[in-house]
Amino acid sequence: MSRIIEISSLDKKYGSRKVLDNISLTLENGTIVGLLGPNGCGKTTLIKTIAGLIKDYKGKVLIEGSEPGEYSKSIISYLPEKTYLSENYKAREALDFFEDFYADFDRKKALEMLTQFKLDPDQKIKSMSKGMQEKVQLTLVMSRKAKIYLLDEPLGGLDPASRKAMLDIILNNYSEDAVVLLSTHLINDVERIFDRVIMIGDSKILIDDTVDNIRENNGKSVVELFEEVFKC
């Protein structure tokens, strides 16, 4: 396993409010990492920083040794929590777009996934429900053979049955030598897929450990530990 993401002393503020405070972590390939924490704790900000969408941060963020930029974007497959596809596109046109810009995009795989999700490639994005739009986006993102998958709240707008299908899609389609960083606050559904979890609260990393260690050292599941750490 090699370090693919290295973050050291990362600080990010929105105005006077600190969202990320002295965050340091490294992510190795071949792992699925859960980024957990309550709403507004900085998960999305951390993912956006790695994706290269936030530039006004302090500290160091390195993707395969270089700062977020053109190269890192070619190896990162990013799923934001928002719908980022043009509403005028049909699902098929979105596939065309990804095929044109990402050399690692597998169109055949994408069409199979759309079928699996029972989505019509010729349906316009704007006529789809929020859940359907999320499925199209996940299809696009997971049809790339990327080195890094950044999945920001991929389960947010889905019903429980779709969540399970979504997780299966993630598990079955990510490249074995890649790293998956998946943020969520719906831990019950996803604990089973994580190798490691990072819990963020009050803009700091509170827990960063493997799932096996958490269970062994604390005698608790990730869900139980999460509830204990973020008890109201």
Binding site: G15, L53, D56, E70, Y71, K73, K82, L85, S86, F101
Partner: protein, 272 residues
């Protein structure tokens, strides 16, 4: 990558803009039909008026679509896709600028065409031909060609200012102000640039002098300020001196605005 970006830029903008031209062409057809075949004066007049208004509307709507497209595609939710593509931000800007420039120039041509057909509908083409003959007799018909680079430059200058303003408004310092920041930055930038441009136009000793007797134009090292002073003093001018310093300033600023916008997109812009 630029060709791919352009492909999608034209594809997306072509969903709406050509519809405007189609409506305009229908009305142009109606004007010509009523002049040649129908001979109903009120219909001829009404369609000509509508066509003229459409001509103006097409340029304005094209402009609005272009500005909204830039904002929506780069700085709203769609920006999450565009700014994570493995392309240089400068190429994103270039693709938007080339497509916008194309559509704007096309809209000007359409507006000019709509005006000509409308004038035909109003029955004033005879007067128009006379005016053209007058211009030709003065030897000034070639002067019309000076308008073409001026329009091209003005279009690029406007695009540069708008893209700059929208991009500045999306830097973290102005996030809290939302879209209002783009308007404020545009107004402030425009006022400052206009003042500096006016100074350059009037004081830089690089002008074009157009003689009155036999219309001819030549470059001169006179500045426009001297010409204005002479006119104010009441001396009879033998021609007009138009400062070109402002145009030079515009050319430089087009380059500066696009360069700075591209740099900001690369290093400063953070999506909300």
């Amino acid at each position: 990558m630029l060709s791919k970006l352009l492909k999608y830029e034209f594809k997306d903008t072509a969903r709406t803009i050509p519809l405007l031209y189609l409506v305009g062409l229908i009305f142009a057809g109606l004007v010509l039909f009523s002049v040649k075949l129908l001979h109903i004066q009120w219909f001829q007049f009404t369609t000509s008026v509508v066509l003229m208004l459409l001509g103006i509307a097409v340029s304005i709507i094209t402009f609005v679509i272009i500005v909204m497209r830039f904002y929506k595609n780069l700085y709203s939710n769609e920006g999450y896709l565009m700014f994570t593509l493995p392309v240089k931000p400068g190429l994103l800007l270039a693709s938007k600028s080339i497509a916008a420039f194309f559509w704007m120039i096309l809209s000007y041509c359409f507006t000019a065409g709509a005006f000509l057909v409308s004038l035909y509908g109003f029955g004033v083409t005879g007067e128009l031909a006379l005016a053209m003959d007058e211009i030709k007799s003065l030897g000034a018909e070639k002067m019309i060609y000076l308008f073409i680079p001026a329009i091209v430059l003005a279009t690029l200058y406007l695009l540069g200012q708008i893209y700059f303003a929208v991009t500045v408004a999306n830097t973290p310092a102005l996030h809290s102000m939302g879209i209002a920041a783009a308007f404020l930055v545009f107004i402030a930038t425009n006022i400052i640039l206009q003042i500096v441009e006016a100074i350059f136009t009037v004081f830089i000793p690089f002008s074009i002098e157009i003689g009155f007797e036999k219309i001819n134009a030549s470059l001169t090292s006179k500045n426009m300020f001297g010409f204005i002073l002479e006119t104010v003093k009441g001396s009879e001018p033998t021609g007009i001196v138009i400062g070109l310093g402002g145009y030079v300033f515009e050319i430089v600023m087009v380059c500066v605005l696009f360069y700075v916008t591209s740099r900001m997109m690369k290093n400063k812009v953070s999506l909300k």
